[in-house]
Point group: C2
Chain length 404, copies 2
């Protein structure tokens, strides 16, 4: 990695409390104060929300799905329009997943071998193939700040043999991802990089090649502690990395199992490297993850719940369609500072769901995203102040109290 | 009408050019510079748009549908929440229709007699009745700035006998509307009015009862000039009015017929009273109406077209799904100043429709509303400058050129 690349993708650890960490991740399109929740922009859009809406939630980085963007509109179209940032008009940092999770989820429509995954598009039925190299090429063309390695994902409760096979293949594929991504980065030296920052980064004017995208590996190994440890060892042996992801969790295994694996990995993970827990989570998962050393999260639950009228509150979740909200002039969450909670009465939000106006889906999605973003902000404040443990315990007690 | 009411609902005619007029309508919740397009907020929401979105289009007044709001959430719920303005958080002027148009459209689900219209709710199948008195009570309870009279609407191409019957009944019902609305207004003297302005109007602190809502009559008579004239005469005989609506047009009759009726009515309409052409229209209808003396318009076409991906441009309409937009980095309408046109490339808008994300519907609806609102603003500027005729002719020529 060049000097410039290292400076472009810096992570500065600012405070810790127990395993919990507060830091700042610098990327070509801006910085991310951690811990942080990253909304999911499946098709280059966070479902139903404008980039301006998303920015107003305080989100610092969003995720784009390589599988979906490859199918529609295709990475070539996005490249021709100036890359993913210009295409979506989202000016802050972005991360793309590798498409691995999506193609492995296409049960019955995919064929896996050592080379990669052949799959049938859910859009037009055409046969396509993703390999570690293709996943790197597509992501490079899309031009997000962070590209994810192409991993072999196994089902949540996979037995040892299967989890081991997936974990070992993920390491072999990581070699291929690293080689291809390195070649793409080297080949781009001196040329106008795709995904160029909207506002020229200071690093861009200095010595060395300008590397606009970094690659993060993914630790696999299912629910088996020793496989997870071996996966991490193998990953670190191929480093250094500017960030490390933990994949294959929150896919059906019991919560205590996820927590145990995070605790197993935490002491082995490099202190100065940001840790990204993929596909997590719900509000309590965020706090449990932060308490176990996670810096970055993504999940579709905020928008999916929002579309179904489920809003998160500090006292647990609420169904916005519920008769109890009829005629209520109270805000959805009196403690929240989002557009929805500061502008609209509960009775109006309920009415929007009753008459099936899409404004309702948008307003509850907005609140849920702000809820998770703010939870990251609050956790960060408490970690910096050294009060995270007590605050987090009290927060979780209140959140779960109604169900108890 | 009390002195206070007259001042609360003042219309000041500022300039004319031929039949075209520019004026300012003062209402309890603000002023409306005319000519003006009024977006339709069917269920107390302009489909898919937040009140903030709508305000940013420059819209000065929106319409709420009494029929829909009566069914859901019910005017009692809205009253308990502080009236339609507080319910929707739209702080500017509002107008409610009477529900007449909707219940007369419920073919097969309604029974009409001199008393009113019995109809079956499209939501839950319950039988309900709207009469002139009920329409006034519901609208008073909703609390918009302007209430519309309950009229007998006949089909667009209704024969003379039927159109005459509807027109005469509309006049008889106007007497009943006027009596009931007057009683409601008188009864409210001294009490906190529903729909109270968010910011206390200066008129509220002066002598006389505070009247927060005015009633506008509707001229009917189908496509028959003499019936239209008789309707207007009968209406004026029951005045004075703070505004007069022309209903039953743009319901299937040829455009020249609508233009002829507007021309027939224009010289008979009081100069100092605003004229509202109901349910109109498309961009060219706005200019044709303004040229014939209309001050205010409403129509769902802007949002309905927006949801179907049809955008209005100065050169005619365009299908946002069209393959020609794929990969385009151009704005939708380079001459437009709306959020959609100043923020997003065409290729991204097309992508949103292809992946069926509701953000696309919203962004094109926003543009279409801004397009009509801006057309009103431009017409006004040209009327004030005395250049309306030439500008309007050239605008229409360019708009229709492609189809010619």
């Amino acid at each position: 990695m060049s000097v410039t690349a290292a400076r472009m993708f810096e992570f500065r650890l600012e405070a810790t409390q127990g395993l919990a960490r507060a830091g700042t991740l610098t990327l070509p399109h801006g910085t991310v104060a951690t811990p942080a929740f990253m909304p999911v922009g499946t098709h280059g859009v966070v479902r139903g929300l404008s980039p301006t809406d998303v920015a107003r939630t305080g989100a610092q980085i969003i995720l784009g799905n390589t599988y979906h963007l490859h199918l529609r509109p295709g990475e070539g179209v996005i490249r021709a329009m100036g890359g993913l940032h210009r295409f979506t008009t989202w000016r802050k940092p972005m991360l793309t997943d590798s498409g691995g999770f999506q193609v492995f989820s296409l049960e019955g429509l995919r064929r896996i071998d050592e080379d990669g995954v052949e799959f049938q598009s859910h859009v037009d039925g055409t046969y396509r193939k993703l390999t570690p190299e293709r996943a790197m090429e597509i992501q490079w063309t899309l031009g997000a700040d962070i590209a994810m390695a192409f991993d072999h994902v196994v089902p949540g409760q996979a037995p040892y043999e299967l989890a081991c096979e997936g974990m070992e293949r993920t390491l072999r594929w990581l070699d291929r991802c690293q080689a291809r991504h390195g070649a793409l980065a080297a080949g781009s030296a001196g040329e106008q990089a795709i995904g160029e920052a909207w506002e020229q980064s200071p690093a861009g004017s200095s010595d060395g090649p300008i590397v606009r995208q970094t690659l993060w590996p993914i630790v696999q190994g299912g629910t088996h502690d020793d496989l997870r440890r071996r996966s991490l060892e193998g990953t670190l042996a191929r480093g250094p990395w500017t960030g490390i992801a933990i994949g294959g969790l929150s896919v059906g295994e019991p919560k205590p199992v996820m927590h145990r694996i995070l605790e197993t990995l935490a002491p082995e993970l490099p202190r100065e490297t940001p840790r990204y827990l993929m596909g997590v989570g719900f509000p309590s998962d965020l706090l449990e993850g932060i308490a176990r050393g996670v810096d970055l999260f993504d999940c579709v639950a905020a928008t999916r719940n929002g579309r179904h009228g489920t809003a998160w509150l500090p006292t647990g979740r609420i169904n916005v369609r519920g008769a109890a909200l009829k005629g209520s002039t109270e805000p959805l969450d009196p403690e929240c500072d989002c557009e929805t909670c500061t502008s609209y009465p509960r009775g109006y939000l309920r009415h929007l769901f009753v008459v099936e106006d899409m404004l309702g889906l948008r307003l509850v999605s907005l609140h849920n995203i702000r809820f998770l973003v703010r939870l990251g902000e609050q956790a960060r404040t408490h970690i910096l102040a050294g009060t995270f443990d007590g605050w987090s315990r009290e927060w979780l007690r209140r959140y779960h109290a109604r169900g108890a």
